[in-house]
């Protein structure tokens, strides 16, 4: 297996707080790699560093061997690293299709196109509609995003990411706030995506994590406590003590 993303001694300080503290990790191509850990462990901050939304205080990020540590978010997105946000981050006053449309349009070589109407770009339309279908919102095509339920907005969040046709998906708690039915749908979507993409998944729902993840990293206080296969993590004494506790008992057969 080749690594697609590598992070080396990556740190992010907010004032005196080390939200991410000298983290070194390899993400392998085509794998589903879940990151778990208690609230405040630094999982979201790690994703923000990978997506370029935050600049690291120290350390390096390599994508396919190339240094992308200081690249801005748009450049990272254009490289094929897409993300969804834990805190819903959409265009609330636009319809679902319009939300995905803009995402899909980002794959035109340039959007400095001033004359032909946007609607005439059939490739953009089909990419946007495919993304809507994949995230299960085809029926909500023309609904204004802010008028949908929280769970549906979370689905849209994923749809927008897919419309940018990324190779690596950074998913920050995609299931949070979803009903059981929606969550089941999204988990099956994640499985489908896992066949052709690299997924880096943050999730609190342990059933979901153990259902899809091939690798697991446990973070606590900004540091990596343990990385391994789900079986290795289940068996880890350190993880049991520090974090999983009762949750694990249920998981262990």
């Amino acid at each position: 297996m080749t690594s697609i993303l590598q992070i080396k001694d990556l740190s992010k300080n907010f004032g005196g707080l080390a939200a991410v503290d000298a983290v070194t990790l390899n993400f392998e191509e085509g794998r589903v790699h879940a990151i778990i850990g208690p609230n405040g462990a630094g999982k979201t901050t790690l994703i923000n560093l990978l997506s370029g939304d935050h600049k690291p205080s120290a350390g390096r990020i390599l994508f396919k061997g190339k240094d992308i540590t200081t690249k801005p978010p748009e450049a990272i997105s254009q490289l094929g690293i897409g993300r969804s946000y834990q805190k819903t981050n959409i265009f609330p006053s636009l319809s679902c299709l319009q939300n995905c449309w803009l995402a899909a349009q980002s794959r035109l070589r340039s959007s400095m196109r001033f004359f032909r109407p946007a609607e005439a770009y059939d490739d953009v339309r089909s990419r946007a509609e495919l993304a809507l279908e994949m995230c299960g919102l085809t029926g909500r095509r023309d609904t204004i995003a802010s008028e949908m339920s929280y769970g549906e907005q979370r689905q849209l969040e994923i749809g927008m990411m897919l419309a940018t046709e990324p190779e690596v998906l950074l998913l920050d708690e995609p299931l949070a706030g979803m009903g059981t039915e929606e969550a089941t749908q999204v988990i099956s979507l994640l499985r489908t995506l896992a066949q052709s993409h690299t997924l880096i998944l943050i999730e609190h729902d342990m059933d979901a994590v153990f259902a899809v993840a091939e690798m697991l990293t446990v973070m606590v206080n900004g540091q990596v406590l343990e990385t391994g296969t789900p079986d290795q993590i289940r068996a880890s004494k350190a993880v049991r003590e520090a974090y999983l506790g009762e949750d694990m008992e249920e998981m262990t057969p």
């Binding site: 978010p73 748009e74 997105s77 981050n89 959409i90 265009f91 449309w101 109407p117 946007a118």
Partner: protein
């Protein structure tokens, strides 16, 4: 019947346009000149609406491009005869575009209050430059003795000195600028601007270099503002620092707010409202600015979408009333 009323807003706009087109036939020449000035203001305000209403950039220095282009026309017009429009117009537009590129380069990377202050500061710098420059008439301003000639060889195509000709020249400009902006906003470029206005960070995360799109929007707006300045200087025959002071920038912003932010045609309606209200308030009292200020506050509080929003609400009301009436007529 219901087809005609399908969109009463369009009906309103077409009627207004027809009235504008017919106006020189019956309007007194003083008012024809006034309407020319208002239409030029409308072009200027539409270009500011591209920034405020469609890109989310609240520029407080938009008069800079208007005034700069006007001064450029004054500079390239000799005292002995007219300058060719084929030379003057590219100079005026190019100058405004270049200024917008430089000012935008520094300002669009900031946002909120910082953006407002930087655009204001640049505009004030230009103001003082022209105010102190005695070669260009200092605070008194500078005359433009001849209107630009529109000719191919010796053949004159248009005489901009003719009031009616110039009126239609400005009216056609107004329509073309509106159409151009509509086209741009419907194109992929406009979709990106809309994303930036609603949620810039997300637009960037989707892979757009938002800086470039904001800068392009700023340059387009500045260039159109410059075109309005070219028209104003041609019309007025004099250019003075007042055309690029912060009073001017503020009043364009008020026009956009009055007309309805993010509606484009509202900016033109706002220009008419502004000039007529000003005229009316001035007749009532010498403290007319107080009344004007009060009126703008009223609009901001109670008509957040300005006059255009009012027209659109009324239009939606009519549509509903008509469809209800036709439901009743149906067997």
């Amino acid at each position: 019947m219901s087809r005609v009323f399908a969109n009463p807003t369009n009906l309103f706009l077409l009627t207004a346009l027809a009235m504008l087109a017919a106006f020189p036939w019956f309007g007194e020449s003083f008012y024809v000149g006034l309407v020319v000035r208002i239409m030029i203001l409308g072009i200027l305000a539409m270009s500011l609406d591209l920034l405020i209403g469609y890109t989310g950039l609240v520029s407080f220095g938009h008069a800079a491009f208007f005034g700069l282009a006007g001064y450029l026309l004054a500079i390239v017009t000799p005292e002995t005869g007219p300058v060719s429009i084929w030379y003057a117009l590219p100079v005026c537009l190019g100058g405004a575009a270049l200024a917008a590129l430089v000012i935008g380069w520094f300002s669009v990377r900031t946002s909120g209050i910082y953006f407002i202050m930087i655009t204001l500061a640049f505009a004030q710098m230009l103001y003082y430059f022209f105010n102190e420059n005695m070669e260009l008439g200092g605070s008194d301003g500078i005359f433009i003795f001849y209107k630009p000639s529109v000719a191919i060889g010796d053949f004159q195509i248009l005489d901009l000195g003719d009031h009616t000709t110039f009126y239609y020249f400005v009216l056609v400009s107004l329509i073309l600028v509106y159409a151009l902006l509509r086209v741009i906003l419907n194109a992929p470029f406009g979709q990106v601007l809309r994303g930036i206005k609603i949620n810039e960070a997300r637009t960037q995360a989707l892979g757009f270099s938002t800086f470039r799109y904001k800068l392009a929007s700023f340059v387009i707006a500045g260039t159109i503002g410059g075109y309005a300045g070219f028209l104003e200087a041609t019309h007025n025959g004099i250019m003075s620092p007042d055309f690029l002071g912060w009073h001017k920038s503020g009043s364009i912003m008020m026009i956009v707010i009055l007309g309805g932010i993010g509606t484009l045609w509202g900016a033109v309606v706002g220009a008419f409202a502004m000039v007529f209200l000003q005229d009316w308030f001035q007749e009532l009292t010498t403290h007319w600015l107080l009344l004007m200020g009060g009126f703008v506050i009223f609009v901001v509080l109670f008509l957040p979408r300005g006059i255009a929003g009012l027209v659109e609400s009324f239009s939606a009301f009519l549509t509903r009333a008509v469809s209800r009436a036709s439901d009743k007529d149906a067997p």
